[in-house]
């Protein structure tokens, strides 16, 4: 009797045999004790390795993965925090400069303040100085606001 190759029997067992060969292979296995043994061994092996009810993955697996993933992301988060600090500071700087300049011009126009109200200091220089001071104050406030977050984050990573 001519036996099919063992690889063909493997394909038959796992349902991967070509359709035109399947019937002939099945018929052979039915009448050949040797090939039937291989088929039985394959079933036994598969049965022994079958997924059982005790193979359940850990219940908190997803949570653990997501927690790790969140720890990997802070590079993006920190960038966002910097933007959070810089944007309001820049806005405060611009608004302060505009307010001081406009206010100075208005006071001069109304004649309430003579041409050079503060001696050698021009309104522009005064505006810039006050704006820089404002920026420092805003920066300090933002740092104070973010400090607990940064401390907690570094604590969580260590």
């Amino acid at each position: 009797m001519t036996h099919p190759s063992p690889l063909a029997l493997l394909e038959l067992h796992f349902g991967e045999a070509p359709a035109h060969e399947r019937d002939a292979l099945e018929a052979h296995v039915k009448q050949c004790a040797e090939c039937a043994t291989l088929a039985r061994e394959l079933r036994g092996l598969e049965h022994a390795l079958a997924i059982g009810p005790d193979d359940a993955p850990p219940r908190d697996g997803l949570e653990r993965v997501l927690a790790h993933v969140a720890a990997v992301r802070p590079v993006r988060t920190r960038r966002a925090e910097w933007l959070l600090a810089v944007v309001p500071s820049a806005a405060a700087l611009a608004a302060g400069a505009w307010a001081i300049r406009a206010g100075g011009e208005r006071l001069t126009a109304l004649g309430l303040v003579p041409g050079a109200p503060l001696g050698p200091i021009s309104p522009e220089l005064l505006g810039l100085s006050l704006a820089a001071f404002g920026l420092v104050v805003v920066g300090a406030l933002v740092t104070l606001a973010l400090a607990p977050v940064l401390i907690l984050e570094s604590h969580g990573r260590s």
Binding site: L7, E41, L42, H47, I51, P58, V65
Partner: protein, 189 residues
């Protein structure tokens, strides 16, 4: 979103969509965990690998190229590589054999109740088989475990491992012959 294909999900995961990642995780955690359990032999090890593998999936999602292969073999490849590199480090070669803890599914859970003697035969056979599997080289055990999980075809295993299908089938067959010899020796003792 549950009906989305793996490919659509991985695209969303690449954009750090946690919901898509959750779906993908739920879709694959059980079969991949079962494979890792049989490759590693210890539940704690398989849990560690599963976690590491899915972290890698999250991080590498952007690099997945749909033109070069499907998501399923890609995820299995990540899980296999995680296990391989860790095994290479630890030289850990015990196989999960506990019948009541994890792994081997006895037939009483499936329909008709078999006789006690049949169950004992099954248990003995499963133990002997698991013992013989431990002795197989990793490359043989890998293909046996992956194909017997019924989750991947030989073509998909070839995609995941980068090994030609013919080679995989030959390895499987050689593994069968090795197991037959070892189990035969065991009976003879």
């Amino acid at each position: 979103m549950t009906t989305l294909s793996d490919e659509a999900l991985i695209e969303r995961v690449a954009r750090h969509d946690a919901d898509a990642f959750t779906l993908l995780y739920r879709r694959y955690e059980r079969p991949i965990f079962a494979v890792l359990l049989r490759l590693g032999g210890q539940r704690s090890l398989a849990e560690e690998w599963l976690q590491e593998a899915f972290i890698r999936v999250w991080l590498a999602a952007r690099s997945h190229d749909a033109a070069r292969g499907r998501v399923k073999p890609w995820i299995y490849a990540i899980a296999l590589n995680t296990a391989r590199s860790d095994l290479a480090r630890k030289r850990h070669r015990t196989l999960h054999v506990s019948l009541d803890g994890t792994g081997i599914d006895l037939p009483d859970a499936k329909g008709s109740e078999p006789s006690l003697s049949a169950r004992l035969d099954d248990e003995k056979h499963a133990k002997a088989l698991a013992g013989a599997l431990v002795e197989l080289p990793d490359y043989m055990r890998e293909v046996v475990v992956l194909r017997c999980s019924r989750e991947l075809s030989f073509a998909e295993i070839a995609e995941a491992t980068g090994t030609p299908q013919g080679t995989l089938k030959s390895r499987f067959h050689r593994a069968m012959l090795t197991l037959r010899t070892r189990l035969g020796q065991g009976r003879g003792k």
